[in-house]
């Protein structure tokens, strides 16, 4: 084994080692999820040296420098204010979801007008329109971190795979018998998973365009799905009140997470694949042990349905969005409520962290998106301008650009 070079990853903080083994180039990552500007660098470097054989004495100085660079990035003050940059009016019907590619150079929007559009973030120009679906384009995704492919899931029961560069359609995945409402690429970008109102999820081979597996077991609509960071497991959240954990390779059911008393709205893995967070119409969010499938805690406090949940990039914080118009931030490990985000005048349908984990972004039926300080719960900004409900919102990887998609048929770029 010979170390070739280091790569630095800002969010979540980590160092990627590129090394040679038996003539083959491989990578592994050292996650530094607890790193803060206050961390003792020398001590941490020593620790890494002890546990990672690739880090030899001659390399320690380099590691030290990388950690310091990460610390600098983490310590950067984040008091940016966002202004409306562009209103994109090319869709003729309401938007559904929005998503950035990894670099943030472009993003995509799905719409009731049956198209998905690719946009240039810097100019707000429309790059391509992906046409072919015969009904609402509901679920969309880039194959991040690569960003050269796009998958779209439609109410027409099909999923399509497209080239992000040319807008050409590579494959149409047929097999679901009802609307496709959620999808995701695996981290290796070899598979697309689709979840459908037909109660099944399917895995599709990107290369061949063929179905790789059907995940059957839920007794109601699948509404949310998520791969873990490694890509060997996938979870599906269903209107049948349960979440299922599946082995990707075999398509076998590993655990069913039972405990919610209402439909599931969202199910997510955290970065190190230790926890699963789920939101439900039963007004709670639950945290589960991702290994044994046991419920670790029930996060209560919301007075109405929990419509969305998410982890921050390090997987240490959980944010919940509710139909009661409030959002909350919890610690994933202690499960204590850290902040209550109060101020929206309508249900919050979408919530996400900035990659730095310092801000929360919420999109609401009150036509505004709001930006919150994670630690104080203070509302820092109200992004106003949409003339109808906001259905979706997202941060780019740098955390300096926001997009919002609305029922008013527009997408807005804020930066």
């Amino acid at each position: 084994m010979r170390l070739k070079r280091f790569l630095v990853r800002y969010y979540p903080p980590g160092i990627i080692l590129e090394y040679e083994k038996g003539g083959e180039l491989k990578t592994k990552s050292i996650d530094l999820l607890d790193l803060s500007p206050e961390t003792d660098v020398a001590e941490l470097t020593e620790e890494i040296k002890k546990t990672e054989p690739l880090i030899t004495a001659s390399r320690t100085e380099q590691v030290k420098q990388l950690i310091q660079r990460l610390q600098e990035k983490l310590g950067q003050q984040d008091d940016r204010r966002f202004y409306l940059f562009k209103v994109l009016r090319a869709h003729i019907l309401p938007l559904t979801n929005v998503a950035f590619n990894k670099s943030g150079s472009s993003f995509i929007t799905g719409s009731y007008d049956r198209t998905c559009k690719i946009w240039d973030t810097a100019s707000g120009e429309e790059l391509h329109t992906l046409e072919g679906h015969r009904n609402v384009v509901y679920a969309i995704a880039f194959n991040n971190p690569y960003g050269d492919k796009i998958a779209t899931g439609s109410f027409d029961k099909t999923c399509r795979l497209w080239s992000a560069e040319t807008g050409k359609c590579y494959h149409t995945f047929r097999g679901h018998t009802a609307e496709i409402v959620c999808l995701s690429f695996n981290p290796q970008s070899t598979l697309v998973a689709t979840g459908s109102m037909d109660t099944t999820a399917k895995l599709w081979n990107i290369q061949t365009g063929e179905e790789a597996a059907t995940l059957t077991g839920h007794s109601a609509e699948i509404i949310s799905l998520s791969f873990n960071t490694v890509g060997d497991k996938i979870i599906t959240g269903s209107f049948d009140h349960t979440i299922s954990l599946w082995d990707v390779q075999s398509g076998r059911l590993i655990h069913t997470l039972i405990g919610h008393r209402g439909e599931i709205s969202s199910a997510q893995f955290n970065w190190d694949c230790s926890f699963i967070a789920t939101g439900s119409m039963d007004k709670t969010c639950k945290v589960w042990d991702a290994v044994n499938g046991k419920c670790l805690a029930t996060l209560t406090g919301h007075e109405d349905e929990v419509l969305d949940v998410c982890f921050d990039y390090t997987g240490q914080l959980i944010a919940t969005a509710s139909a009661d118009g409030n959002a909350r931030v919890y610690s994933a490990s202690s499960q204590k409520c850290i902040a209550k985000l109060e101020g929206h005048e309508g249900e919050i349908s979408k919530i996400c962290f900035n990659p730095q984990g310092s801000r929360v972004l919420t999109g609401s039926a009150d036509k505004t998106a709001r930006l919150w300080d994670v630690n104080t719960g203070q509302c820092l900004q109200v992004l106003e301008g949409h003339t109808d409900e906001i259905f979706s919102c997202a941060f780019n990887y740098e955390g300096d650009t926001i997009i919002t998609g609305s029922k008013d048929n527009t997408c807005r770029i804020w930066r």
């Binding site: 003729i92 019907l93 309401p94 559904t96 979801n97 009731y112 007008d113 049956r114 009904n135 609402v136 509901y138 109410f155 609307e179 409402v181 109102m197 609509e221 509404i223 209107f239 439909e263 709205s265 419509l307 969305d308 249900e347 349908s349 979408k350 039926a365 109808d388 409900e389 259905f391 979706s392 029922k407 008013d408 048929n409």
Partner: protein, 182 residues
């Protein structure tokens, strides 16, 4: 009504829930009718660029009413919403005689849709508060409604503005959905 609520309303409805599709040309008064049904303010209504959904209780039913924009350029997208429809309500501006042919054509196309086959249809002859409004009988004749034989249908004159006739129409809806859901 976020995306998730829309998905929940998309499911084939349980017994006591009815999915109603509200269609018609632009300016027929669909949104006004929807708001009248929900007892909401109808003084500031603008052309619908997408859709509106409201749930109202009536005679033991929960009516989930989908009001879809009627402008020409978005009419091709009406089919997005056909799935699981229990009752179709078609709204006509009874005072806009110049567009009777156009509205009749759109209705005929809807009745030919496979996904709407057999679905009961209620036609609201709206805007009866206007002096120039054609009576329901004249519209029924003009649109050849009597040739509809593949489903139950009804024409009801109404004014979405004043509310007159609206409840009568909804009573017919509840009665006929009942027959179908049984």
């Amino acid at each position: 009504m976020g995306l998730l609520s829309i998905l929940r309303k998309l499911k084939s409805a349980p017994d006591q829930e009815v999915r109603i599709l509200l269609l018609g040309l632009d300016n027929a008064g669909k949104t006004t009718l929807l708001k009248q049904l929900a007892s909401e303010d109808i003084s500031h209504i603008t052309p619908t660029q997408g859709f509106n959904i409201k749930s109202v209780q009536s005679q033991g039913f929960k009516l989930n009413v989908w009001d879809i924009g009627g402008q020409r350029k978005i009419r091709p997208y009406w089919r997005n919403y056909f799935e699981n429809t229990d009752v179709l309500i078609y709204v006509i501006d009874s005072a806009d005689r110049k567009r009777f042919e156009e509205t009749g054509q759109e209705l005929a196309e809807l009745l030919d849709e496979e996904k709407l086959s057999g679905v009961p249809v209620l036609i609201f002859a709206n805007k009866q508060d206007l002096l120039t409004a054609a009576p329901a009988s004249e519209i029924a004749e003009g649109l050849n409604l009597h040739t509809i034989r593949d489903r139950v249908w009804q024409i009801q004159s109404c004014s979405a503005l004043t509310g007159e006739g609206v409840q009568d129409g909804m009573n017919w809806v509840c009665k006929n959905v009942n027959a179908k859901k049984k």
